[in-house]
């Protein structure tokens, strides 16, 4: 089926116009035919009246001659007069030898009918004639008028009507298409804008201001977006508030556990486990608050310095090399200098999150490759692991909070990748995922040009 509303509307308009105009044309043609027949019948009556005057007189032959020649060839007049025995008394020369077909009937009222016969002087052969026969005294008179002219008109009209029908329908369909396309243009704009909206729908859909249905729909959707945004922000605020509120009791719990443990020399197993669990909670709360701060725009870049991503990457790779070695993972860093301007502390955190993620999801004996370079005005660092990769539907979802289904070693909090992305976005960049074999995460930042020497 067709998926374009514009085309569907145009086709519908075409079909409707064709049927309506066709119906109207049929009516017009019928009226035309009817009108013409009436006119011809009147003339036949008239001629019958005239012939009545000369019937039975020597003037008959002369009248017939004159009358049949008076007419133009197209509406030729045919006349035939018989006596009571059916014998032809007089006739115009154009009447065929067999005479009129019904001209020997019994006495009755005058009769109108159509008559078709092969005309010797007609190129097309067949000729259609409107005929009137009537008894005038003891004579049987038959008069016919050729319909050739009428038919010519009729066919001409029919042809013109058909042509205009097609033209009207095509024009109608085209204008319908144009109007539909014009009215639906805001829909494409709305769709494009909506597609660009993130998981936190900030921004509004474009309105035409015309107040039409689409404009009203856009208004309703904007209202909906606003409410969703408010709700998302409310939930986030709630989470942040909860995280905030958790910190003091967590600190206190941790402090008391620690003091108990220290008092006993070394912590007992349950106390040590409890401390570790509290530490996990504290880490989680800290990450959540960090993400909250970044995403709410509070993490405005404070310090900006110019540094080389490659240098930073090398430093971090060296730092984490022991972790890779523990798991027999080959960890490589290569590429070219890529200067950026940002807060190195934050970018370092973002890259560490990507490296942590890669190391956790690479099997024993696998490989993690870090590439640095510039591409089209962006400084790029990509972290590529030899893990099992990501299915296409998860490439975006891994950046959602708490989304963690990759089943790597050591459970993450599901906040590392969202934090990396939020940091990159704070500095005008982004983090995206692809899965060419293993998973590949690319952090991009606006390039800052060459370092001043």
């Amino acid at each position: 089926m067709n998926r374009s509303i514009r085309l569907r509307i145009a086709l519908a308009v075409f079909a409707v116009v064709v049927s309506l105009v066709a119906l109207q044309n049929v009516w017009v043609l019928e009226r035309f035919k009817h009108g013409f027949t009436e006119e011809i019948d009147d003339r036949l009556e008239e001629d019958l009246g005239e012939i009545r005057l000369v019937l039975g007189t020597p003037a008959l032959a002369e009248w017939i001659q004159e009358a049949s020649q008076r007419q133009r060839r197209e509406d030729e007049l045919f006349i035939e007069v018989r006596d009571a025995d059916g014998k032809i008394v007089a006739h115009s020369l154009n009447v065929p030898d067999a005479g009129f077909p019904g001209a020997h009937g019994t006495i009755g009222p005058p009769k109108l009918y159509y008559w078709e016969f092969a005309h010797p002087r007609s190129r097309s052969g067949a000729r259609r004639v409107r005929a009137l026969e009537a008894w005038v005294g003891e004579y049987h008179v038959a008069i016919g008028i050729s319909l050739q002219e009428t038919q010519r008109w009729y066919w001409g009209l029919r042809k013109n009507l058909a042509t205009s029908l097609l033209a009207i329908a095509v024009l109608g369909a085209l204008s319908a298409y144009w109007v539909a396309a014009r009215s639906l243009r805001p829909v494409s704009r709305i769709a494009a804008q909506a597609r660009a909206l993130g998981s936190l729908p900030d921004g509004v859909l474009p309105r035409t201001g015309s107040g039409d249905e689409i404009d009203r729909l856009a208004a309703v959707l904007n209202d909906l977006l606003h409410r969703i945004r408010e709700e998302v922000l409310r939930v986030r605020r709630l989470t942040a508030d909860a995280a905030h509120a958790l910190r003091t009791p967590l600190t206190a719990i941790r402090g008391h556990l620690e003091l108990d443990a220290a008092g006993a020399g070394d912590a007992s197993e349950p106390v040590a486990t409890a401390i570790e669990q509290v530490d996990d909670l504290i880490r989680f709360v800290n990450r959540l608050l960090l993400l909250e701060k970044l995403e709410s725009g509070m993490g405005e870049p404070t310090a900006r310095e110019r540094f080389d991503l490659l240098e930073l990457a090398r430093e971090l790779v060296d730092h984490l090399r022991v972790i890779a070695e523990e798991r027999e993972i080959s960890l490589e860093c290569r590429g070219e200098s890529a200067w950026v301007e940002a807060d190195a502390v934050w970018i370092r955190q973002a890259i560490v999150n990507l490296l942590d993620n890669a190391l956790r999801h690479t099997p024993l004996g696998g490989k993690v490759a870090v590439d640095v370079g510039t591409l089209g005005g962006a400084a790029e660092i990509s972290v590529w692991d030899s893990g099992k990769g990501l299915p296409p539907d998860q490439l975006e979802r891994v950046f959602e909070r708490y989304y963690s289904t990759r089943g790597g070693t050591g459970a993450g909090t599901g906040l590392g990748l969202p934090i990396a992305r939020a940091i990159a976005r704070t500095y005008g960049g982004d983090v995206t995922a692809t899965s060419p074999g293993g998973a590949r995460f690319v952090l991009r930042l606006p390039v800052a040009g060459e370092a001043p020497i």
Partner: protein, 223 residues
């Protein structure tokens, strides 16, 4: 040693007080800024632990008043982690160190001790049991046997030896030995501790590196 703790949160104050007392400090405490400032100006404390978010008078103001009142007492500021700005402002206002909340008590203790030690001469040779760490030659030996350490391993050992007998947390190690304070799942420190153990403790019967689970590590000759 006499320490003043200015903290309005009872839950935090209670364990800090208790912990410091157990560690052998004499502890006074104040629950708001005015009270803290009054005590700080009146008594000659060896150190002050100061929260930033306080009722009646905020921590920064207390700090400024103390300094303008001529008190050079070392001050350790406590504050919520996200107040990075406060860290800078806190140090400008005369704080000597800064500890983000939530914190481990061991870390508070270690930082406090570091503040109190400040200004005392640093020896160039550290000895822990039969382990000798020569900071000038950057060499270490145990029971007369030379230890073959990488740079990182030596730096870690140096830090542990400087704080011999005290528990140091992973955060402290990563800040001071690696100069990298970031949040990571990958525990690089544990790996280096393992490397260090292999060289320092494995060949010997007496173990010097102790793990305080949930807290950190300690280098100590005592058992």
């Amino acid at each position: 040693m006499r320490v003043l703790v200015v903290e309005d949160e009872l839950r935090v104050r209670s364990f800090v007080e208790r912990g410091l007392r157990e560690a052998g400090f004499a502890v006074d405490s104040a629950v708001d800024g005015e009270d803290g400032l009054r005590l700080g100006l009146v008594n000659p404390y060896d150190a002050i632990v100061l929260d930033l978010m306080l009722p009646r008078r905020d921590g920064l103001s207390v700090l400024r008043e103390l300094r303008s009142g001529g008190r050079a007492t070392p001050v350790l500021v406590l504050s919520a982690r996200e107040e990075i700005d406060d860290k800078v402002r806190g140090l400008d206002a005369g704080a000597d160190d800064y500890l983000p909340k939530p914190f481990a008590f061991a870390e508070l203790l270690a930082r406090l001790r570091a503040l109190l030690r400040r200004g005392t001469a640093r020896p160039s040779l550290l000895e822990v049991g039969d382990l000798r760490v020569d900071l000038l030659a950057r060499k270490a030996e145990r029971a007369g046997q030379k230890l073959d350490l990488t740079q990182k391993e030596f730096a870690l050992l140096e830090y542990l030896a400087r704080h011999a007998g005290e528990v140091v947390t992973r955060t402290m190690i990563s800040e001071h030995v690696w100069d990298m304070n970031f949040d990571s799942f990958s525990n690089v420190i544990d790996v280096y501790i393992r490397y260090l153990r292999r060289k320092i403790d494995e060949p010997f019967e007496k173990k010097l590196i102790h793990t305080r689970r949930g807290v950190g590590y300690m280098l100590s000759a005592a058992t």
